[in-house]
């Protein structure tokens, strides 16, 4: 009822949970889909907990507020704790196992544990855990093309400061790397 795909992206302030959601929505617009992005806004700061709810659909999205999400991306342990119960039965949760060692509680959802921070160290620095997670999410769901996100990144780079624009190659590398994590797992599975 919340559209074809609903996802909650959560992390601590500074990890880019909100930005990952914005990238996702922009990519949805590129592909002509309906989408909503709704953040937990306000007094959050670096270190505090932030999250956003994203809907992507082929038809109108009435509610930006999500009861149960098809997927949750938890970039730290607090996010896993907070949103594990919000995953629809049969849905999945990406957990950043670098920052969460919590036991998983459910048997009716799939868990994809990725040591995002460790893996990010292998890439050109700075690399971005939020973007790596997004790449993995997109490869897993195929809800949007990785190429659409890359297109969005290239467009954004034209409008931001030179300092930020210089990070475009790192972002492109991160999203591709995130997709590869899933691709390789599928090969070995």
């Amino acid at each position: 009822m919340n559209g074809d795909m609903s996802v909650i992206i959560s992390g601590f302030g500074g990890q880019g949970a909100l930005f990952a959601g914005i990238l996702l929505c922009h990519a949805a617009v590129v592909e002509g889909k309906h989408t909503t992005w709704f953040p937990a806004y306000g007094a959050e700061m670096r270190g505090g907990a932030v999250n956003c709810s994203v809907n992507i659909s082929d038809s109108d999205v009435p509610s930006p507020i999500i009861d149960e999400a098809d997927a949750v991306i938890a970039l730290n342990d607090a996010s896993q704790e907070k949103f594990e119960h919000k995953v629809k039965a049969g849905g999945f949760m990406i957990i950043n196992s670098s920052l969460s060692h919590l036991k998983t509680k459910r048997t009716d959802i799939n868990y994809i544990k990725i040591p995002l921070n460790e893996l990010a160290q292998k890439l050109t620095q700075p690399a971005f855990v939020n973007v790596i997670a997004l790449g993995a999410f997109l490869e897993k769901t195929k809800i949007l093309k990785i190429e659409s996100v890359k297109e969005v990144m290239k467009e954004m780079a034209k409008t931001v400061s030179a300092k930020k624009a210089a990070l475009l190659p790192n972002n492109l590398e991160s999203i591709e790397f995130g997709a590869n994590i899933i691709r390789q797992q599928m090969v070995t599975a």
Binding site: M1, N2, I22, C25, H26, A28, V29, H34, T35, T36, W37, F38, P39, Y41, G42, A43, V61, P62, S63, P64, I65, I66, D67, E68
Partner: protein, 362 residues
Amino acid sequence: MAKVLVKGNEAIAQAAINAGCQCYFGYPITPQSEIGEYMGEHLPEMGRVFITAESELASINMVIGAGTTGTKAMTSSSSCGIALMQEALSAMCCAEVPGVIVSVMRGGPGLGNIAPAQGDYFQALKGGGNGDYKIIVLSPSTVQEAIDLTYRAFHIALKYRNPVMLLADGVLGQMMEPAEFGEYPYKDPDVTQWALDGANNRPARNIVSLHMPEGEMEMLTNRIFKKYEEVAKNETTYEDYLLSDAKLVLTAFGSVARVAKAAVKRARDKGMKVGLFRPVTLFPFPDKDLHDTAKKANMILDLELNKGQMLLDVRSAVFGACPVEFYGRPAGGLLTPDMIYNKIAELYAKLENTTKTEAGVR
């Protein structure tokens, strides 16, 4: 023009710019600060006026100043900030000064919190200002509608020489979705017949809200209320979502209405005849249309993010045509599609039972 992904607050700000807003006066407050930030970034480079006022009192009085010259001006704030503007809103209605006020509601009363809420329906519609007056209140439910209604707000503020409020909430202000700006679609009326634009060999004009001579204030108030009748005749707007055969009719405004829509869709999938009546204009309230809807329905369920405020207008419009139930959460608690659906299912089951019992008696 293609659709762009835009945040509600920023959409309102850009729409105001497109509508020809020449002056923005405001004081930051969550959850609408992006409006001021956006205006601060764009208005000065266009040669227009942007002022961060020292308080909300100052903002709204600056709007009055600009409005008396026939200039399109706007302020924006949230709950406790809008509370400070009430005296000026009353004065604007009396002196017939146009202006646009954007209210992005947060939790209250008091300083409350910064979460989305709808506790300021009374504040907007039944106002804290003195005397007989009404401000026109428009209630967007999507980012696209926030753009469209911002355009409309600027136009009808000038058309009726009355303050117009865009009443949104934290959900709509903070969320992003694709929307299209298009061009400002209205042709605005000539203001040179009344605006304070410098006498220059014509007789002096006064725009005042003090009328001491006997009978003058009564006459003025009656004239203004004639104007409100015109507003009601021309501007009343609501959305009909699956009402034609609805036994259970939901009423909701703003962001709650779109969440309700998700619940209605689900109820329809389960075969329940449920519809949504969404007032787009809160003043003028679509009371006649709601009454006609209620006559065909078995029950109304009013949904709000407060303890029941629009509920009074709903009851007044329904006027006993069918029972009216209320379901809401105040001060930052959100209604989700599941919550609304469960309430629908509960009430619908009751309706079905009642209908069966009545049939049995017959």
